[in-house]
């Protein structure tokens, strides 16, 4: 029989939320195991070469990969934290056993508490020839460039002017790749305007109320037809433009990676403001399945800064529920909650707040 690994807190996902959760729980004395699908911890942070926003508490001003290194350091230097990298969680069962796979081995873990910090996956859109070689997700482009040092092509059409579309455009230009345009179906830029201005002054047009009609090319992308949309999101005839590009990069949003929440029978709800199906949870991020917490994009797509604070909050709460930090934990929880509401209090955070309100308001329309 294969062994079952016993652990106090199992954290699934070693990105900003998972690592923050691990450090916070371990600091209070809990034994933690982190599962990370990738060979290296850090999640998306390892690909982020730009400086982060927020305040000192969320390492603002540091670049994403630097924050990643910092978080990895806090976990690696903590004897209470064990990390299994190259390990993918496969399932959560009714008896509380979590299974995972590493090197073709089937692993079983019996945690007392689980924190899901699985992040999000990229959305795709449907348009003719949308699977032609040369069409990438923005995350894939970042991985190619910033992890493997390979540029995706020579001239890029970026689809989506949210923070990811803007940032990846910037990184493409830093890598010497031309960005022909950024198009955005919505009537306004969704990402931070300072990012947009930075790209615009580098000469890249940002076209709001524009969409892609089709990609074309013989064996791979040779161009794209884009057009303008009216206020009902319908294509305006005669506004078509032909852009010669060899790469089309999709940055059309993220979906919370909630398969494990569904499996664990958490009560779920579709909330567009949080970018998809997310689990109901209390203020301390515990879902309707007792002992199962969520943190970061899996609980609703947001910024890395809030993912780190959510991770910390979930880590503290899980450890507290096991009896750790009797005096300290409530104070730390209050601090984290205050930080979250501070981060979300401005106009940029209204969408998230509205989403959370919608999520927790009424119990109907559950899936």
């Amino acid at each position: 029989m294969s062994e079952v690994k016993d652990i106090e807190i199992l954290i699934i996902g070693g990105g900003p939320a998972g690592l923050s959760a691990a450090a916070a729980a371990a600091d209070l004395g809990a034994s933690v195991l982190v599962l990370e699908r990738d060979g290296k911890l850090g999640g998306q942070l390892v690909k982020q070469t730009h400086k982060f926003f927020g305040s000192k508490k969320q390492y603002a001003g540091d670049r994403g990969f630097q924050i990643g290194d910092l978080l990895i350091g806090t976990c690696e230097n903590n004897s209470k934290v064990e990390v299994w990298s190259d390990t993918t969680a496969l399932g959560i069962y009714e008896d509380g056993v979590v299974t995972a796979e590493r090197d073709g081995k089937h692993l079983k873990i019996k945690p007392k508490k689980i924190i899901l910090a699985t992040g999000a996956s990229e959305k795709m859109i449907a348009f003719p020839n949308n699977d032609m070689p040369g069409i990438f997700g923005a995350g894939a482009v970042q991985t190619l460039m910033n992890v493997h040092g390979i540029v995706p092509g020579k001239r890029v059409l970026m689809i989506g002017a949210g923070n990811i579309g803007l940032i990846v455009s910037y990184q493409l230009m830093q890598a010497g790749v031309e960005v022909a345009a950024i198009i955005e179906a919505a009537p306004a830029i969704g990402g931070y305007l300072v990012h947009a201005s930075k790209i615009r002054r580098a000469g890249v047009p940002i076209l709001t109320s524009h969409t892609i009609q089709e990609a074309y090319g013989k064996d791979s992308v040779e161009g794209a037809i884009i057009c303008q949309l009216d206020d009902k999101w319908q294509a305006i005839p005669g506004t078509e433009q032909d852009l010669k590009v060899d790469v089309i990069c999709l940055a059309v949003g993220l979906s919370p990676l909630t398969e494990l929440c569904f499996q664990a029978d958490c009560q779920m709800k579709y909330v567009p403001e949080l970018s998809g199906h997310v689990p109901l949870r209390n203020d301390y991020l515990e879902t309707t399945r007792p002992g199962l917490y969520v943190a970061g994009d899996v609980s609703g797509v947001e910024e890395a800064s809030s993912a780190m604070v959510e991770g910390r909050l979930a880590g503290i709460s899980a450890a507290f529920s096991l009896g750790y930090g009797k005096d300290l934990a409530p104070k730390l929880q209050a601090e984290a909650l205050a930080e979250l509401s501070e981060l979300r209090s401005g106009p940029a955070g209204q969408k998230t707040l509205q989403g959370i309100r919608k999520l927790m308001d009424k119990g109907e329309a559950l899936c």
């Binding site: 400086k51 927020g54 000192k56 603002a60 230009m173 300072v194 990012h195 201005s197 709001t208 209090s345």
Partner: protein, 167 residues
């Protein structure tokens, strides 16, 4: 419209521009941050008491221009690369504009580059007075450009690749 094009309008810029009198006095930070986002490193960077502490982290930065000595620490710290230093006292006809820069190649002091405005439009060829490294951690370069005085509030970056690709 800034939120449709990414280009700050003249009205936007006006709200963060010091008086001509202050501009002529010497270097001063121009914080072109027009959207309330949760971000405050500039307030922590400023040791001159020029960038005022924020009540709420989502507040727009507020400047006391008289306290600003143009040291440029905020410029290299701003995650949005939205801070510029303008020194209209450089000479009778010229001003220095300091811009944050994170592309390669980094221009060299003494070389000529093509300056662009907030829309990426070319404004002319200008001399690089100095280039400051942000250091191994910060990594953002500060490029000092000598520009005609009347363009001091317009030049906001340089054309990528430097002068070699200029038309």
């Amino acid at each position: 419209m800034l939120n449709k094009t990414g280009i700050p309008t003249a009205e936007d810029v006006k709200t963060v521009t010091p008086s001509q009198e202050r501009l002529n006095k010497g270097p001063v930070a121009i914080i072109e941050c027009f959207q309330k986002i949760p971000c405050n490193p500039c307030t922590e960077a400023c040791k001159q008491g020029a960038i005022l502490p924020m009540q709420d982290i989502n507040d727009l930065p507020k400047m006391n221009f008289d306290n600003c000595n143009g040291c440029g620490v905020c410029l290299s710290r701003c995650p949005g690369l939205a801070i510029f230093i303008v020194d209209a006292s450089y000479s009778a006809t010229e001003a220095i504009v300091r811009i944050p820069y994170e592309y390669v190649p980094v221009p060299e002091a003494g070389s000529e580059v093509v300056g662009v405005d907030r829309a990426g439009k070319e404004l002319g060829t200008f001399k690089v007075e100095k280039v400051q490294s942000g250091g191994p951690k910060n990594k953002t370069y500060t490029v000092w450009l000598i520009v005609p005085k009347e363009m001091a509030m317009d030049v906001r970056s340089i054309r990528l690749g430097g002068v070699r690709h200029a038309n």
